[in-house]
């Protein structure tokens, strides 16, 4: 790399607010929190000089130094464990998984150590565990994970997955300030998606963890979803609008603890619910959502609760296979039409 190029990557301070991409919103959030609170630090593989595989932490090493932006060995269990230990001492670690797929070697540390500390002896682990998740970029069975269902049955972990730049910044800040462990999933397809560029406030703001967001109001049926699939849902809703169907789109944003009120409210409002997620269908968190509705909004339902999700297979690499595997816009349209006609 030329000296000029080297210099360029040093002057990498983000704006405050402005029109930003999803990835830039997260980077702003991290930067501002590190400025605000000296307890906040970053830890992970290649987060320092390289700025992370997706450049989410680009420039932070130069600004905050290697005492607060720590490149680690390839040791996810140690990254999570060390973050937990540091959190016990009052620090606010933000740990990165290079891909969310690499959260699996730390599954033990997360579910047994991080999740249970407060319950066992009152010591909250205020740490954030973040990284790129999601499929659809032909990255094959080991770089396409949607991990939320793995952690859904472990009490003590929060899970967040934003779908807009505004929410991404507000939620990463809220996660860092949260007194409990938060898994923060960033769908890699969204990072630089032009469609997601939006103006965000200059002022400090957070988005409350635990609250869903109605992305579109509707009367005829509800689509409950999150992450990159929010876009699929919004597109489908627009298409269906033309057909005279009024579709409500709920972006969960927080997956645990789930916003049960919002889920039940939309189910009761439209009486027809379609759940959409990118992970495999069986054992996905769609089951929890459907069960909640079946249990607590039964009398309001005018149709089966329908799940649109990926097939029960690993995520295949080759484009035609991956397309078959993942839920597509046409699947949502198809399901929504049938649901409406029910």
């Amino acid at each position: 790399m030329s000296a000029a190029a080297k210099k360029e990557h040093k002057s990498n301070r983000p704006e405050r607010g402005g029109v930003v991409t999803f990835v830039e919103a997260i980077r702003q959030g991290l930067w501002e929190e590190m400025e605000r609170d000296p307890s906040v630090f970053l830890i992970g593989e290649d987060v320092g000089v390289y700025g992370g595989a997706f450049k989410v932490t680009d420039g932070l090493l130069d600004e905050f130094g290697d005492g607060r932006v720590i490149d680690t060995p390839i040791s996810e269990a140690a990254i999570v464990g060390a973050a937990c230990g540091a959190a016990l001492m009052g620090m606010r670690p933000v740990a990165e998984f290079q891909f969310i797929d690499f959260i699996t070697p730390a599954f033990d540390m997360l579910t047994n150590y991080a999740a249970k500390c407060r319950y066992r002896w009152g010591a909250g682990v205020a740490a954030v565990f973040r990284g790129p998740c999601g499929a659809g970029v032909h990255a094959g069975p080991f770089h396409s994970l949607n991990a939320e269902a793995f952690f859904m049955n472990t009490a003590g972990l929060k899970m967040v997955e934003p779908s807009t730049a505004y929410d991404a910044k507000g939620l990463i800040k809220a996660a860092i300030r949260d007194p409990d462990p938060v898994l923060f999933f960033e769908h890699k397809k969204l990072y630089r998606l032009p469609r997601l560029r939006e103006e965000i406030p200059e002022d400090d703001y957070t988005v409350e963890i635990g609250k869903a967001r109605t992305r579109r109001e509707g009367r005829d049926l509800s689509v409950i979803t999150f992450g990159a699939q929010v876009l699929t849902a919004l597109d489908a809703a627009e298409e269906l609008e033309k057909e005279g169907l009024s579709v409500e789109v709920i972006d969960l944003r927080t997956l645990a603890p789930m916003d049960r009120e919002a889920i039940l409210a939309t189910a009761r409002r439209t009486s027809k619910v379609l759940i959409l997620h990118e992970a495999s269908r069986t054992g996905g968190i769609g089951g929890e959502i459907a069960a909640t509705i079946a249990e607590e909004a039964f009398e309001w339902l005018d149709a089966p609760v329908v799940r649109v999700a990926a097939t029960d297979t690993p995520v295949p690499y080759s484009p035609p296979l991956e397309e078959y595997h993942l839920p597509q816009a046409r699947d949502v349209l198809d399901a929504a039409r049938k649901l409406a006609a029910y």
């Binding site: 040791s75 140690a78 060390a82 016990l88 150590y113 010591a123 909250g124």
Partner: protein, 409 residues
């Protein structure tokens, strides 16, 4: 070039010269790799035999009467030495009381004894400062007590009482107290090594001189978490001292089925850190080795591994019949009992009289009985408390048992 036979050319340094000629400023790191000024004789590869094939052992110190005692090499003052005796005795008597309560079915879970290895926990922990942190194994009750946890807390924990430090949520020494530098373990072996690495990473960020000590078994060292944690601590040169309690068994599994090293301390080599071997049944030696290790770590030397050679004289837990022990092994180790040994040591060195020691023991016994009674008298937790504190409840409501039908019931 002669094929089929092995010939040698002469090594030369001119390859390096070549690179320098080209004006290359090779990084010190990658430079180390090859062709760079090695003066050894020519060879196409270097063979490293498995190191330290012989088991290292420290000699048994004997007193004038030829009895097994403790090392004389010490910096401990007599008062400290008597205090050490108190901790050893307290550890043993608290455990005996626990066994007692267990037989009366007052202990809810199992009892895991440290009989025969008390000196390791007590001696090493006694060398720490109050602000230092430890994480013990189940068999390190001695270290927990030295760290300032009171017997009543232990009894209440074992009996699952509301007044126990985890309020009945977790068992035995599974709790913690940041103020007292005590981080209780979880069951999953190895996991505490990364956690303690984080403790000292945070302390360094906060500019504190804290040392962290993590105890681990011959068994626990086989876990991936141990490896990841100690490696990370070593890279960061963090003041983490790992005490490997080599008590020869992991449940029923002997060390030779656990790893292929001769000394657990040999594993230090893989992390580029210094190792120590100490007689784990010699409380004075354990103290001294930790003093050195903690000093080294605190001064910026980074992580240290200490192997304490000792022996688990009871089964894994009370229910274990130890069918797997070779005959005579237990008896041989009974002779090395750390408490008997230390008692002889104190008396034959004139640090304490038998009467003085008996007085300490009586005092300890009183404390144990008093604390056990306190714990026994304490209530069981209220059932509904189970719902609280999964998350910070000012933030997320407690996890009450859900009503079966959601609407208004």
């Amino acid at each position: 070039m002669k094929n089929g036979s092995t010939t040698k050319t002469t090594a030369s340094k001119s390859a390096k010269g070549e690179a320098e000629e080209a004006g290359a400023r090779v990084s010190a790191d990658a430079q180390g790799s090859n062709g760079a000024g090695d003066t050894a004789e020519a060879r196409s590869f270097i063979f490293l035999p498995p190191p330290r094939a012989e088991a290292l052992s420290v000699p048994d110190p004997l007193n004038e009467r030829g009895e097994l005692v403790c090392t004389d090499e010490t910096t401990l003052a007599p008062a400290q030495m008597r205090e050490l005796y108190r901790w050893l005795q307290l550890t043993r008597l608290v455990e005996e009381k626990l066994v007692n309560l267990y037989r009366q079915t007052k202990v809810v879970g199992g009892v895991f004894r440290s009989l025969g290895q008390e000196a390791t926990a007590v001696g090493t922990c006694y060398a720490l400062r109050p602000a230092d942190f430890i994480t013990p194994l189940i068999r390190d009750l001695g270290a927990v007590l030295v760290k300032g946890i009171r017997p009543r807390e232990i009894f209440a924990q074992y009996m699952a009482k509301a007044w126990g430090p985890s309020e009945g949520r977790d068992l035995n020494i599974h709790f913690g107290d940041i103020e007292r530098g005590f981080v209780g373990p979880i069951s999953h072996l190895g996991d505490m090594i990364p956690v303690m690495t984080g403790i000292v990473l945070a302390a360094r960020m906060r500019k504190k001189e804290t040392v962290a000590v993590a105890y681990i078994g011959d068994g626990g060292m086989s876990t991936g978490a141990f490896h990841e944690g100690l490696n990370f601590a070593a890279v960061q040169r963090l003041p983490l001292v790992v005490v490997a309690e080599h008590n020869w068994y992991a449940y029923s599994t002997p060390t030779r089925k656990q790893c292929a090293v001769t000394n657990l301390a040999d594993k230090a080599a893989a992390y580029g850190i210094p190792g120590y071997v100490v007689d784990g049944n010699d409380v004075v030696a354990c103290y001294e080795v930790m003093k050195k290790a903690a000093e080294f770590a605190r001064a910026g030397g980074g992580a240290v591994l200490i192997e304490a050679k000792t022996y688990r004289r009871k089964g894994h837990a009370e229910h274990d019949d130890q069918r797997y022990l070779p005959e005579g092994e237990l008896e041989a180790w009974e002779k090395r009992d750390p408490l008997d040994r230390y008692q002889r040591h104190l008396i034959s060195n004139g640090v304490a009289t038998q009467d003085a020691l008996d007085e300490i023991t009586a005092d300890v016994r009183r404390e144990v009985e008093e604390d056990a009674a306190w714990a026994e008298s304490s209530p069981m937790p209220e059932a509904e408390k189970a719902a609280y504190n999964v998350f910070d409840n000012s933030n997320v409501p407690p996890a009450f048992r859900p009503k079966v039908f959601g609407r208004g019931e």
